[in-house]
Each structure stands twice: as structure tokens, then as C-alpha cells.
Amino acid sequence: MNQTLSKKLVLTLLAWFIALVVFFPIFWMILTSFKTEGEAVATPPSLFFDPTLAGYHEVMARADYVKFALNSVIVSVGSTLLALLVAVPAAYSMAFLPTPRTRGTLLWMLSTKMLPPVGVLMPIYLIFRDLGLLDSLTGLTIVYMLMNLPIVVWMLYTFFKDVPRDILEAGRMDGAGTLQEVLYLLMPLTLPGIASTGLLSVILSWNEAFWSLNLTTSDAAPLTAFIASFSSPEGLFWAKLSAASTMAIAPILILGWMTQKQMVRGLTFGAVK
């Protein structure tokens, strides 16, 4: 008994030490966001200080933070809704009406996700330039939707596959038509799956930083691109950078924590559950 307790204590110390070291940069960023610019660069680093919201106020007032945040919301939610709209019927038919071609289609969709974005940077850039989609929310929304579509279809498919067949059979016996089947049986059973698929898609779009850096400049720039503008060497604004960063990652960090189990499924295409 005593030995297991001391083992547990040692494990606790070790695991918490590692967890705190890994989390430290995020903790430090949050702490720095409440400092003045002077304290932010102080050596030795100051752990105790008078917290101030000055950094937040300045980011909100000067840098037009709200516009960039709204862009992020529009682009990630918009692309997710569009992807779901197209993916739900596709995943439904693959899971419930499988044909000999289903397997091939699914694997082909997975393979489109393997196309490196940088490999098609030039064509996408030129198409966007010619269609006037550079630095537009529409353009970025479309790219994110297509980027996440394979993952969304896959994840929905694995959730739909989990719906017990017996329930559907019973529904059919009771004379439920396709529409009724979808509305009264499938929707309630698969809504949690659809919701977590949507959340994963929002998270991936929110954090995407290849297309956002290359296809937007100011009007349609989401938070990933806005934060990147802090990388210029002129002057150090660590408190403002930290405040903007904290606001940019907080919602997604919370969503990520909530959906970590489902994320594993989506990110590994069902290979690890």
C-alpha cells in the first residue's frame, strides 16, 4: 500500500513537471499579455507584477483586432458548414448504401489530402488572381472547405458506420421512409458525430497558416496572418503580441480540449480509435 502510494507520488511529480514544462510557453504568453511593454522584456523575467489590460486595449483599439477575428470566424465556420453540406450526403451513402466502388472512393479522397499545398501554390495563386479572389473571404473559405472535405467525409463515415444496423432495420419494419429514417433515426443518433466533425474542421481552418499567409494580405486576413505581422523586427511589442495571441488561441484551445477524443479519429482517418 505504502509502496504504491510512493510510486504514485513519484509519477505525479514527474508527469506534472513534464506537463508544466510543455505548457510553459503558453502560460508565459498569457502572463506576458497582462504586463506593460517594459515588464514584458524585463530581465530577469518578472513573475510578480501589477496586471494590466493595456495590451488588450491597445490591440483592440489600434490593430483592428476585431476585423481579423471576424475574418477567422467567417472563414472557418463558413468553410465548415459548406463542407458538411457536401460531405453529409456523401458519407451517408457510403455508410448506408455501400457499393463495390465505395472503398475505392474513400481511399481516393484520402489521397487528395496528401497533395502538398506548396505543390499547387502557383496554380491556385494564378487562378485566384484571375478570378479576383486574392485577399477575399470567399476565396479563402472555398480553399479551406476543399482542404478539409476529405477529413470531414472520412470522419462522418466512421461515425455513420457506428450506427447500429438493427435500429435502422426496426425503423424500416415499422414503415419509416428514407426521409423519416434520416430525420427521426439518423439525425439524433449521428448529431454528436456531425458536431464533433464540424468542430475539428473549425479548429483546422482556424489554425491554417499556409494559404492564409499566401492568399490574403489585409482585407481577408484571418488571425494566423494578423499574428504573423508581429514578426517584423521594428520594435518589440511583446505584451501586445501576447494579448493578441492569447485572444486568438483561447477559443480554439477550449474547443480542442473538448473534442480531443474525436480529433484522434478524424486526424488518423479512423485508423486509431
Binding site: 524585463a42 457499393t99 496528401m114 497533395l115 505543390g119 488561441i249 480542442g256 486509431v272
Partner: protein, 295 residues
């Protein structure tokens, strides 16, 4: 009972109708840019100089393949992918075993340790660049001085190492998250039986846990490779590929050719090389997933 043959055609029609939007969109998304990249890679095409045009044959490829910059970038890509994989897979496996044990506050400790994966790449890179690795005011500089070492100017003297540290920090939680999920399906009875037979913790890890995690580890390696091959934002906001080409990887080199030099032909030839590299990895990943897929 429905007639088999007609059932199939009705099903087939419905399938076609339901899948057509998703399939056609992805088909367009894949084929059009891919075709254009291939086409451009054989063209003389520079946005800054409209006078240059026409069929280039293999010139873009010859130019690219004989350019030492490409080989530097390829070497950096390999180093980056290799080191990050080694750190995150070994670290992730060990941490998965540790965070699987019973200890106080396990739930919260797990949340803290997976957090970096949800931080957007530009934020991760800038926190590290400024608050952690700044040669004068960074936390690491302060720590180094505290223990009597000289502070390191990370991004000018160890640019690639710095990128490896940042990217590993982002992807270690991913490996941990996947492997922690996989380790939970390990059969407790089997471990208990091994312990009864006198197996120590190292033997249990080596002969039971590790084989159990084999497939999950291979999935982690392949998914990470796909993303790591084209790491971009972290380099963009920290070193811009420098000093010189010291931290330029293939993705960043193509970006330079494409959106700084506007050399469409050269960038596309680079793109084709990136696509070929990614596909070599992708074949293995698709196979692993296919083995696991029941339709």
C-alpha cells in the same frame, strides 16, 4: 424482398446523386491545379517578365536540379522531418506510457500537455522566437545565464535547430494524443499476466506495449511526415529561411521562387518535386489505412 439487380441500380443512382458534389469538387480541386503545375513546369513563364514565354522542355527541371539551393533545401527538409519525427515519436511514446499511469491530477496534466497542438503555428513560432529564444530578454537566455552558460542567439547561430525545437513542441502533443488513445485499448489482463510471470516494467514496455502501439506509431509517423514535409509558417515568421539558406526547406524555397521571384515555371517544377516526395509517403499511409477499412 427487393430484386437484387434493380436494388443495385436504384442504390447506384442514389449513390451517384449523393456523392457527386463531394467527388466532383475534390476531383476539380486535385486535377486542375495538378495539371496546371505540370504544364507550367514545362513552360518559360515569369510574371515579372512577360517577354519570356514558350515551351521550356526540361529546362526548369535542369535549372532546379543543378541549383545548389535545391539540394540545401532538400537536406534541410530531411533534417527537419527526421529530427522532429525522432523527437516526437520517441517522446510521444514515452509520455503516452507515463500519462497512462494513475497519478494525482491526471486529467488536468493531460490537458496541459496536449495544449500546444491547438495553438496556431504563427503564434507558436512567435512565442518561441520572442519570449523563449530571444538572445537577451528570452526566458532561455535568462536560464542559461543563471546556470553560468552563455546565452545562445538561437535564430542566427542555430536556425534549423530552433525550427526543429518549435515544430517538435507543436507535434509532440499530437503524437502523445494519438498514442495515448491507442495505449488505452491495451489488454490489462495481458499486462497483469506478464507481471505475474515476473516481467519488469521495461520488458512489459518492450514486448507488450510497443508491439501493441506499432500500428498507431506508423500512422503517427506517416501523418506527421505529410505535414512536416511542407512546414512553412514557422519558417516564414522566424528566420525567413535564413541566414542565407540555412533554414530554407523545400516548401519555403518554392515560396521564394513563386511569390518573391514570380518564376512560375521554376516554382512549378519545384512543386512537382514536392508532390512526388509527398506521394511516396502517401502510398504507405493509404495502404495502412486501407488495411483497417471495412466497407
Amino acid at each position: 424482398m427487393r430484386d437484387r439487380a434493380s436494388g443495385r441500380t436504384v442504390g447506384g443512382m442514389r449513390t451517384l446523386f449523393l456523392q457527386a458534389p463531394a467527388v466532383s469538387m475534390l476531383l476539380l480541386w486535385m486535377l486542375v491545379p495538378l495539371g496546371m503545375t505540370l504544364w507550367f513546369s514545362f513552360q518559360r513563364y515569369n510574371l515579372l517578365n512577360p517577354m519570356i514565354s514558350g515551351f521550356a522542355g526540361l529546362d526548369n527541371y535542369t535549372y532546379l536540379l543543378t541549383d545548389p539551393a535545391l539540394w540545401t533545401a532538400m537536406g534541410n527538409t530531411l533534417l527537419l522531418v527526421g529530427w522532429v519525427l525522432a523527437i516526437t515519436v520517441v517522446g510521444g511514446t514515452l509520455l503516452a506510457v507515463l500519462f497512462q499511469q494513475e497519478f494525482f491530477g491526471r486529467g488536468i496534466a493531460r490537458l496541459l500537455v496536449i495544449a500546444p497542438f491547438f495553438v496556431m503555428p504563427t503564434v507558436s513560432a512567435l512565442i518561441w522566437k520572442n519570449m523563449m529564444m530571444h538572445p537577451v530578454n528570452g526566458v532561455l537566455a535568462w536560464l542559461f545565464n543563471l546556470f553560468g552558460f552563455h546565452a545562445v542567439d538561437w535564430f542566427s547561430s542555430l536556425p534549423l535547430t530552433s525550427i526543429v525545437i518549435i515544430v517538435s513542441w507543436e507535434w509532440l502533443p499530437f503524437a502523445l494524443l494519438i498514442l495515448l488513445t491507442a495505449i488505452q485499448s491495451l489488454d490489462d489482463d495481458q499486462v497483469e499476466a506478464a507481471r505475474m510471470d515476473g516481467a519488469g516494467p521495461i520488458a512489459i514496455f518492450w514486448f507488450i506495449t510497443l508491439p501493441h502501439l506499432k500500428r498507431a506509431i506508423s500512422v503517427v509517423i506517416m501523418i506527421e511526415m505529410i505535414f512536416l514535409l511542407t512546414i512553412f509558417a514557422e519558417i516564414f515568421v522566424t528566420t525567413s529561411g535564413g541566414p542565407g539558406l540555412a533554414s530554407t526547406n523545400l516548401a519555403y524555397l518554392i515560396y521564394i521562387r513563386a511569390l518573391l521571384d514570380f518564376d512560375v515555371g521554376g516554382a512549378s517544377a519545384g512543386g512537382v518535386i514536392a508532390i512526388i516526395l509527398a506521394n511516396i509517403v502517401a502510398i504507405f499511409l493509404v495502404r495502412t489505412v486501407a488495411k483497417n477499412l471495412e466497407t
